[in-house]
Each structure stands twice: as structure tokens, then as C-alpha cells.
Amino acid sequence: MANVHQYEVVVVGAGGAGLMAGLYASKTAKTAVISKLYPTRSHTGAAQGGIGAALGNLEDDSPEWHTYDTVKGSDYLGDQDAIEFMCAAAPDVVYELEHMGLPFNRTPDGKIAQRRFGGHTNNETGKPVTRACYAADRTGHMILQTLYQQCIKNNVTFYDEFHVLDFITVNGAAAGVVALELATGELHIFHAKAVIFATGGHGRVWEITSNAYAYTGDGVAITLRRGIPAEDMEFFQFHPTGIYRMGILITEGVRGEGGVLLNDKGERFMDRYAPTVKDLASRDVVSRAMYLEMKAGRGIGGKRYLHLDITPETVNKYAALDGRVRPDGSPYTVTGEEILKKLPDIIDFCKTYLGVDPVSQPMPVQPTAHYAMGGIPTNVRTEIVIDENNTVMPGAYAAGEVACVSVHGANRLGTNSLLDIVVFGKEAGINAAEFARGASFQPLPDDAADFTRQQLDALRNGSGKERAADIAREMKEVMFDHVGVFRIEEGMQQALEKVRELKQRFKEVRVEDQGSRFNTELLNTWELSNLLDLAEVTAASALARKESRGAHARDDFQERDDKNWMKHTLAWLKDGDVELRYKPVTLTKYEPKKRVY
């Protein structure tokens, strides 16, 4: 029998969303936060550029503009009630982070500093607006540290290096989770009234990615196996600027500070694709433009990368051409020193991994798999909803990148994920604790850990004819080539077939390590099974959607089709097949328009 623990609320994941949820839930309910990584290792710590909130510290701005930009950025697939809620909550939640001690950069008069980011505009002029609140280029690091510090201060209970492998549901309601303790290999059952999933994304499906090794989609895979659908999985964001071949992210803040993208001829090609905001168009738009430039042979030296240039000469030249001015009306110029101060980590990454100093040389970049717009379907209260009628599963919650509320729709704007994790992490904590107050524990089934054991035994007892690493590599390649920035029918079909073949071959994998302590081979292999499930659901959802919208761009259906496709995809994994159903987008007052930047 596994070890059994009982908590009113269990939070799975200790990134920004999980810590915020843990902080709030534990104010009123007995709560545990379970994480496969030490909390401060979570991927929130990698976020660089900023968190979006219309504080208006440097120029006019309003939450309504933020809302509209987010709706437009989502290519009208975002649920407008949720977007309104998030953008209205943004200023207060950013002030709350500041009150917790978060060391934001400051304006000369001591307020939180803000910078420009793609897709965030002054709705009257259409020009970029300074909305991203930042702490140098380590905003996510400071959010993660600050929230963890607050958890220490408030004695939040953690189970660090406990890997959750299954979700226990009884009578159609949440009843807990099963986790493996890394240090011992033992299974633990966490019996709970409410469970919050905050497990982050799954960029490791793709070959080139900005995402951590730990980004294996565990939350979505676990809930899929328990009959809960995954929403809008075809929408995965490719960030325009990853370090060539490595995928390490170069924040959009670089372009916010005046950096520009250049092709092999030294042209600032974004002029042609987004005449008003140019390099600060939405990510899907920029990634596609880059892809087209490279396809036309204008990659650097004909290769599959372009230059991102933040050298003062280039920045000052284009700022003058654009007529960019500072808040006081003086012309916008930068020095090498200022760049170093504002983007120290980016400069360090480039020096370390490329031997390139961005203050004097351009950076080689290519689009990199970055962010999951799709995930576990929830309503605006972060309750998990399990069908096209938005039926709530009692006691089940999800928040952060793992969830699909949906505030990002078909394409997320930069700075809106850090906002999402704190706003909806907090909601989840409050709502789960409130639910727990009024609910009793579901009875725990005797065989609660059986399904987990079966999964692990299968990995230990495979024939060994196949190697996990080969399967992972083949999946990543086919997904990057065919379910990437641009898609067509045949390619996606090929990817889907390939992933299905890989899933069959995966059954022949055998974990060599028979030990129990820190058996990372076992867990990495289990994570691969998650990635394969998510790749299948992604390819199937993408194949079915016969239009182009946001991050889902098809060569064979190049236009957005609101008549037939302004709806969310719900995908179930059933008996080795993907079943697709659809649900409407929630509209408030924003009518779909053509998206131009």
C-alpha cells in the first residue's frame, strides 16, 4: 500500500501559478504544493521580458486597450469574458507583487518601469505602448523567487521532488493524486477535496524549443488519460527569436528596446509585413514573416536563420527613421551601456553559447517552439470543464500554462502568460479553498495507485527492442517540420501517422535502471509517453482545423474562417483514437475584424 496523506487542497506544480495558488489556498484550507522540481527550478524562472498591466506609468494606457489587444492578438479565439477579467485584474495583481517585495526596475520618479512588447498598442494611434512591467530581463525569475519567498514566510507545505503520475477521480469529482517520491521511488497518495493542476507547458514535443526539459505536458496527459479533453491543442506558439539551433529564448523585450530583425541583404523586412508596428507585431505574424524570408532564400548566408540586431548604431538608425521619441518628446537613442543594463542575461547567453556580443554584433535567431495556448479546459473561475457544455468537474482546477481558460486563444501576446499565472493561480487558490470548505472528501478507492503501477511496470518490462531517445528524436523532428510555423494537409497527416507509429514502437521501450532512488530514467521515459500523447492530439486537432488562425497557419487554407471555425477544439483520447468536438467562443463586445498590425 502506498503512503497516504490527506489535504483539503492539493496543488500540483510550484511555478508562478502553483505558488500563487498555494499561497492563497493555504490561507483558509489545509494545503500541500507538490512539485517534481524544487520550486525555484520551475520554468517561470526563465521568463525574461515582462508582465503586462496597463499601469500607464510612462504614457497613457488603459485595461480596455489591453483587453482589446489581447482579443485581437488571440485572433478572436480567446474567450472575451476571461480576457476582460484578466486585463482588469492586471494592475492590482502587479501592485500586489510589488507589495510582496518584487524588485521591478523603476522609472525616474520611482514607479514600476515599463517597456514595449509585441501586439500591445495605444488603441487610438495604433502605435506600440509601454505596458510590460519588468525587472531587467529576468522578470520571471523575480516573480518565482518572490512568490517562493512569500510561501516560506507563510509556512506553505511543500512536497519537493514528488512527481505526480495520476489524478484520482471518484463519482465524477476530484479525489486526489498519486505521486512518486524521487528520493525513495515510493508511491504516495494525496487524498484531497480539491486538486489544482499548475504543471506548465509541453514545448519538448518539438525539436527546437525555448522550453525546459521538464516541459513535458504531464498535467494535460494525466487528465487526458482520465477522460478529460484537451482544448485548442493545435495552437502552439513559435516565438520568433530563439538562438539558432539551440532554441534558447531571446526576449521580445530586445525588440521592445529598439532591436530589429534583418535578413541576408541587411533589410528590415518587417516593414513589409506589419507596416505600423513592424518588429513589434504579434509573434505568429513575425514568425511567419521570418519563415517566408528564409524560404525566399534571404536567410543569413542562405541558412535557416536571420539576424536580430540590438547594437546602438542599428537601434538609433531605425528609431530615427520611425520617429520614435521618449516620453518627454526627445528622440529615442540608446548606448551600449544602457543595453547591457537592461538586457544583461540575453547578453550573457549570447556570449556563453554563441561567442557573440550583442552590443556590437547581431544575434543569429530562428523561430522556437515556446508556449502552449491550449491545455486543460477551464472556465474563468479556473474550474476544469469536461465537455462542450462547459460541465464542471467538482473539485478540479487548472491554472497557468497547463490550462486553457482561454485568454490567449490562437496566439498569446508577450507578457500575458506571467499575468495569466498570477491572476488565475490566485483565482484557483481562492476558489479551490472555498470549494473545500463546503465539500467533504470523496471516499478513496482501494486501488488508487493501481493505474500508476501498471504504467510504470509497462515501462520496466518492455522488450527493449526500441530506444526511448530515438523515439523522442523522431517525434520532435516530425512535429517541428510538419506541425510547426506553417502547416499543410499532407504534412500534418504524415506527422500524425508517424506519431502513431512511434506510440506503437514506444511499447517496446524498456527502462534499464531497475533502482528505486532517483530513478530519473523511469520518470523521463514516462514523460515521453506524455509527449507522444500530446503530439498525437496536437496533430489531430491541427489536421481537422481547415483555416488559418493565429499560430495555426496553413498553406492550403490561408484565411481565417469565422463562419465555420470560430470555435474551440476539444480533443479526447479514446481507445487509441482522438475524438474531436467543438464549443463556441465566448464573446462580449468585440466583433471579429481582420487582423493587421
Binding site: 522540481l37 524544487y38 525555484t40 527550478r41 520551475s42 520554468h43 524562472g45 526563465a46 499601469l55 502587479v94 501592485y95 510589488e98 507589495h99 510582496m100 517585495g101 524588485p103 521591478f104 526596475n105 523603476r106 522609472t107 525616474p108 520618479d109 520611482g110 514607479k111 514600476i112 525587472a135 531587467a136 529576468r138 525569475h141 523575480m142 523567487q145 518572490t146 519567498q149 512569500q150 516560506i152 514566510k153 528520493a183 525546459a212 526539459y213 521538464a214 539551440m246 534558447i248 542575461d345 550573457d348 547567453f349 556563453t352 553559447y353 530506444r467 531517445a469 527502462v511 534499464e512 535502471d513 533502482g515 528505486s516 532512488r517 532517483f518 530513478n519 530519473t520 530514467e521 523521463n524
Partner: protein, 233 residues
């Protein structure tokens, strides 16, 4: 090119004592040492055990001794260390398996210095104001990723693991010199104790080891000065 890599191995479930395993792997000069460890785990020996996540030096998972010095495996390239590489766990914390050490004592030291914002006054409606200069005062120590490379390179910590260690002091510094915070006196009192800052013998190993280039020795000196002078200038 080919790289020969000797890796420290110890599995308390089956080994009496530690040993080294040697692997020869194909590598590019720009490969990270972490890439090599991954390759070994994928294709040579699945039981090789280490922590990692972000793979670009920001999560603090993979501090280890690489050719005798504390580094993040994901931030050291083959071209930086050559084709003979020796990888060992960081020193001064109990080895749990291969390159994984027990991080609990490290986090306990961290937690002991009140590493969180303290200010009991009701906050204003908007942000607390802070000048750019005041913000700059503690900028360096906000970069810490708690990887333990500094603490486990410190001779004082090796000789007595009760010493709070440089990482804890760095995180105390981050709050002591934040003019919005009101907990400096409490923290300085903690660090003035026997196992606090005075254990530091200014060996500079910590500063050398820090993958975030934090000026740790200087931060410790500033904390010492604040204790002796009673002032936070």
C-alpha cells in the same frame, strides 16, 4: 570530435563506495557538458543520474564539479573545458546518487536568514515608490538562482556545514539593502551569530564559482560592515 568523460558514480542501493565510469562520446565544441551527460544517459547508460531542467543557466538545477571547479553543466561548453572532462557532485552535501546531492541542508540555511520581504506597514494603493538608485543598490544579489555552486565551493562550509554559507548571505543581502524592507536588523542579528558571516575567510571561491557573476565576496563584506557599523549606507 571525441570527448572522454569520467563521471562520478555512487548508488547507495548497490555500491559500497563511489567509483568513476568512463565514457567516450562524439561531441561538437559548442556542446554543453549537460548535452554530453544527456547523450550518455540516452545511449550509453540510462542509470546515470543528475538533475537538470532549463538547460541555459537560469534554474540552478545542475551545479556540479567539472574538472575540479563548480559549474553549471548547462553553462560550460566542451570548447571551454577540453576533451578530457571529469564530472563530480558538488562538495559538502551528502551524495544521494551519482551527481545528485541532498539539497535540504542548503535550503535550510537559506530559509534561516528570513529570505523574504518584511514590511508590516499597510502598503499604498499603488506601488511603493523606490528610486532607480535605491533599486540598483541590491540589484546584483537579486540574480541568485540557489544553485549552491558558491556555498559548496567554500572552504569554511566544507569544514563546518553549520555555517550558513555564501548563498544564504547573498539572499539576506538582497533584502537588507532594499530600502522598502524593514527586516534588516533581524537578519543582521542572525548573521552576526557564530555560524553567520564571521565564518567567511574571504577565500573568494564563491565569487569565482557563481554562474550568475554575482560579486558575492563583496556582498558578504557589505553585510559584515553593516553589522560592525550599524549602518546601511
Amino acid at each position: 570530435m571525441q570527448v572522454t568523460i569520467d563521471v562520478f558514480r555512487f548508488d547507495p542501493e548497490k555500491d559500497q563506495k563511489p567509483h568513476f565510469d568512463q565514457f567516450v562520446v562524439e561531441a561538437e565544441p559548442v556542446d554543453r557538458v549537460l548535452d554530453l551527460l544527456e547523450k550518455i544517459k540516452d545511449y550509453h547508460d540510462g542509470s546515470l543520474t543528475f538533475r537538470r531542467s532549463c538547460a541555459h543557466g537560469v534554474c540552478g538545477s545542475d551545479a556540479m564539479r567539472i574538472n575540479g571547479v563548480n559549474r553549471l553543466a548547462c553553462k560550460v561548453l566542451v570548447q571551454d573545458v577540453g576533451t578530457r572532462i571529469k564530472v563530480e557532485p558538488i562538495l559538502g552535501l551528502k551524495v544521494k546518487r551519482d551527481l545528485i546531492v541532498d539539497m535540504e541542508p542548503f535550503f535550510d540555511h537559506y530559509k534561516s536568514v528570513l529570505p523574504y520581504f518584511i514590511n508590516d506597514e499597510a502598503p499604498p494603493e499603488k506601488e511603493r515608490l523606490q528610486s532607480p538608485e535605491a533599486r540598483e543598490r541590491f540589484d546584483d544579489t537579486t540574480k541568485c538562482i540557489l544553485c549552491a555552486a558558491c556555498t559548496t565551493s567554500c572552504p569554511s562550509f566544507w569544514s563546518d556545514s553549520a555555517y550558513v554559507g555564501p548563498a544564504a548571505i547573498v539572499n539576506a543581502h538582497r533584502f537588507i539593502f532594499d530600502d522598502r524592507d524593514q527586516g534588516a536588523a533581524q537578519r543582521l542579528e542572525i548573521l552576526n551569530q557564530q555560524m553567520g558571516v564571521w565564518r567567511c575567510r574571504t577565500a573568494f571561491n564563491c565569487t569565482e564559482a557563481c554562474p550568475r557573476d554575482i560579486h558575492i565576496t563583496q556582498a558578504i563584506a557589505e553585510v559584515k560592515k553593516a553589522i560592525t557599523s550599524g549602518k546601511l549606507d
